[in-house]
């Protein structure tokens, strides 16, 4: 089996850095642009994310996920941290726009990677409220409170939908290997 880019990074192979940037630079940049307040923030975030990628490369397990998903996970962790610290707040107007945005946008055809298609299929298995909460939180980056304000759902309900939804998605994507703490997903 060919050696993955992340395994080469973990071994300190500096040539793997360029390969990693070629293959995943666009993904990380797009995630950062979507979850950052402006271009400067996005640039700072991307630099931090790639340092995290170099640091965590040795943790990558190809039996658990693809490299793409692993790198997207590292990117999300960093971007969430930055969002939390920045205490970003979205205005009520833009919230309304986001909530009213149709879930199947025209740029769906741009979802060329298999992970995004899997995610779309997984989300379609969920109840509409669960799907809405996960889309608003993960794709649009809204907090519990912001989702509650925007949709009129009580805060506790938002949390429940998020939890049950993500657990179901995990099951659907075949990422659940733990029985002990699975909890209810109905």
């Amino acid at each position: 089996m060919a050696e993955t880019i992340l395994h080469r990074v973990a071994q300190g192979d500096i040539t793997a850095v360029q390969d990693c940037l070629n293959k995943y630079g666009g993904l990380v940049w797009s995630l950062a642009r979507r979850m950052s307040a402006n271009t400067d923030d996005a640039e700072d975030a991307v630099q931090e994310i790639f340092i995290d990628v170099w640091k965590n490369a040795q943790r990558f397990d190809e039996n658990q996920s693809s490299e793409t998903t692993f790198i997207a996970m590292i990117a999300r962790r960093r971007l969430i941290d930055r969002l939390r610290y920045a205490k970003r707040r979205i205005s009520a107007d833009s919230l309304e726009d986001i909530v009213n945005e149709p879930s199947n946008r025209a740029d769906e055809e741009l979802q060329t990677n298999i992970e995004a298609k899997d995610a779309a299929r997984a989300l379609n298995q969920l109840r509409p409220e669960q799907r809405q909460v996960l889309q608003l939180s993960i794709v649009q980056g809204l907090s519990h409170q912001e989702i509650s304000d925007a949709t009129g759902m009580p805060l506790g309900t938002v949390k429940t939908h998020a939890r049950r939804g993500i657990l179901q998605v995990r099951e659907f994507l075949g990422m659940s290997s733990i029985e002990g703490m699975k909890g209810g997903t109905a």
Binding site: L21, G25, F50, Q64, M73, L110, R170, L173, I178, M181
Partner: protein, 290 residues
């Protein structure tokens, strides 16, 4: 761990993956993990699987066609070089102590107390004085220096490609409008893809296409149009030809100041283009979302 504690832990781990945790919630999770170390492996694995699930959803509706700006890429590559060099040093520093001691023992320098060592220094000092004297007597005077100073040469102007110029615009403009092209006639799918980017502030933009049919230059040309809310007629954005298969990037050459663009279009016109288009043969449109 009680059912209630399990439930709380699951809630915190799900929240961590979906929303991220506050300082208080992180402390709460750490406390639970500390009290129930037997679940720490399980918790770690569950956290990762939930985060991977969230990351998968996070890739939905993600347009990854915009490349990372070139200057950022250079910075990251340079950071990586420093990071890997530092990591190498850290590995070297953490070599076994015994090995280091052996090295030090083998190469330890005994202090020399012999008079010959002082003689060495004296010879070196004398050599320095001779060198200084030589420099003083043979130095070129300022007039001579002025004569031999090379004439400064002009820095060569590097001509950027359209791709590089587009990347530069994306990296520098703060008001980038961007929209994807859509085929107008779904009955004739041409698998045409691409986008348009525009900055009002810089009055600069680019159209990008892949699979745009190659045109017969002797008979027709492509022309870019910008529909502006403040203009009755669409603004001419310049003409171009598609000569090659693959991706083409063309700078927009707006003939009037663009104020509030709401749509871009590509039409097929006669060679040389037209001032006002009948909009009979529209190849693609890109609506600007407001």
């Amino acid at each position: 761990m009680s059912e209630q504690e399990k439930e709380k832990m699951l809630e915190l781990l799900s929240d961590k993956a979906v929303f991220g945790l506050t300082e208080t919630e992180l402390a709460e999770l750490a406390e639970l993990e500390k009290n129930f170390p037997e679940f720490s492996d399980e918790s770690l694995e569950l956290t990762q699987s939930l985060e991977l699930s969230a990351a998968t959803i996070g890739m939905m509706n993600l347009d990854t066609s915009e490349p990372m700006p070139a200057h950022l890429r250079t910075k990251i590559a340079s950071n990586a070089e420093k990071y890997f060099a530092l990591r190498k040093t850290e590995v070297a520093v953490s070599e076994p102590q015994a090995e280091k001691e052996d090295f030090q023992k083998t190469f330890a320098f005994e202090p020399k107390k012999s008079v010959w060592s002082w003689l060495g220094w004296a010879v070196a000092a004398a050599a320095c004085m001779v060198l200084a004297l030589n420099l003083y007597t043979t130095r070129t005077d300022k007039g001579d220096i002025a004569k031999i100073t090379p004439t400064p040469t002009a820095t060569p102007q590097i001509k950027l490609t359209a791709t590089q110029e587009r990347e530069q615009l994306l990296a520098s403009a703060k008001d980038i409008l961007r929209s994807n092209w859509g085929d107008l006639d779904p009955k004739k799918p041409q698998n045409m893809q691409g986008d348009v980017v525009w900055s009002n502030e810089k009055q600069k933009g680019f159209v990008r296409f892949s699979n745009l049919p190659v045109n017969d230059k002797t008979k027709e040309t492509y022309q870019v149009w910008i529909f502006d809310e403040n203009q009755k007629q669409p603004i001419d954005g310049g003409i171009f030809d598609a000569n090659e298969a693959g991706e083409i990037i063309i700078p927009i050459d707006a003939k009037l100041k663009v104020q509030k663009p709401k749509m871009f279009a590509i039409t097929v016109e006669k060679p040389g283009g037209v001032v006002v288009s009948p909009l009979e043969k529209v190849m693609a449109v890109a609506k600007v979302s407001t």
